[in-house]
Symmetry: C2
Subunit: 279 residues, 2 copies
Amino acid sequence: MHTVDTIEALRRQIQTWRRRQETVGFVPTMGNLHAGHLALVSDAQARADRVVVSIFVNPMQFGPGEDLDSYPRTLRDDQARLLDAGVDLLFAPRVETVYPRGEAHTSAVIVPDGLTDILCGASRPGHFRGVATVVAKLFNMVQPDLAVFGEKDLQQLRVIQRMAEDLDLPVRVHGSPTMREADGLATSSRNQYLSEAERRRAPILHQTLQQVAEIVSRDRGAIETALHEGRQALEKAGFQVDYLEVRDWESLGPPGQGPLVVLGAAWLGQARLIDNLGI
Amino acid sequence: MHTVDTIEALRRQIQTWRRRQETVGFVPTMGNLHAGHLALVSDAQARADRVVVSIFVNPMQFGPGEDLDSYPRTLRDDQARLLDAGVDLLFAPRVETVYPRGEAHTSAVIVPDGLTDILCGASRPGHFRGVATVVAKLFNMVQPDLAVFGEKDLQQLRVIQRMAEDLDLPVRVHGSPTMREADGLATSSRNQYLSEAERRRAPILHQTLQQVAEIVSRDRGAIETALHEGRQALEKAGFQVDYLEVRDWESLGPPGQGPLVVLGAAWLGQARLIDNLGI
């Protein structure tokens, strides 16, 4: 597996595959790879002849006071894991390569209809503008046939699907099911911000989503009660709740007649954990 | 020459050329084609094996009260001209194909640093957001190697070059020199809004740019005087001046040490004419 850090080297390698009519799958990441990322890689490998992974901690999607500087950067370990996983190419660009003028001086992609303002977007203004913009850029750098994102970040997945559809990007965007630890906690790079005691309590987020999902699957009229109880359970367990909501699974808008999802985001110590569960 | 109106048919045709390693040049237009457009086609033909022209009157770049409804639509004549010119494919999509959710509900591309707020952007708010967005979409539909735009719309060219660069679109964006009538008037679809009497006075815009360019090329200190005299000359000839400015040729920012350009926009009757001249 080669690691490249320039767009020219990236495109040169991909061009050789294109000439052989090979299809290209793409898994964009911020690195610090865990089993969840490797499941995305495996999903991409099942769908394409070649798989490119990118590692880029994107400054444009971090707000002031967020964990941009402390976000774990573990390139050597990540390379070893991707090599083991049979990835064909790792693209790990420098910030100057992605934002030669600085991220504040880069054309941005704005996704409409409030999709970026709700849920995580409400407490992280500008976050999804940064996500949509960097993913548009990465798609244009790699030009894959398909890309795979985790359903753990469901809002991110929906923002990217909408962006790709609206801008007619010739990339199929797949969601891949959330990978979990044995106790149900969704795998995440931010789990390592948890103390041992917090780590033991962390699965309560997933358990709470399960409880809400169970109640709502029996009675859609009980959504508000279920969410109220869920928020109380999380607060009692020491979480500071950012949101706990039931939404339409596709649009993330208010619950209608279609499939639903319960989404939660909550702080536990230094970690902001998010998770969701289809109902 | 085939005319297609769906993205699927467009991509299918282009795919057959790609398989033969042929390069693709692209000339996006709003139709009502004149000699200026045909010069862009000819430029594209010199640079690529195949040339695709699009005709799409983009509602997203027209403001309220602008000439969206009255903009001349002449598809039959345009087809005949493009066939004569040896164009390989015409893409003439319907509004619903480009904006299936409506243009207000489409992800948009925002070009930064005030480039879209100055000059034409000052009197046409939202115009360049519409231009950048539709061109990003068209680039993703066609996926050309290169695209050609006229230097007559210099700010549009710079916005598109910046957008393509910032979003890492794999498309080279070329500017092609302005085509003029015998009397110096820049060719434009909007020239047909002029009455006969206005048409006779219209070349005064180009003449005024020439006078400003001549003065400034001799003495960069005389920019303000030259512009003041130029505005007076235009008003005396019955123009209502929107702007007359000297800018940096590349950045369109304030004049510095590099090459300069004088740009003007003015109403003459029902027609808003724009033009520019390198100094």
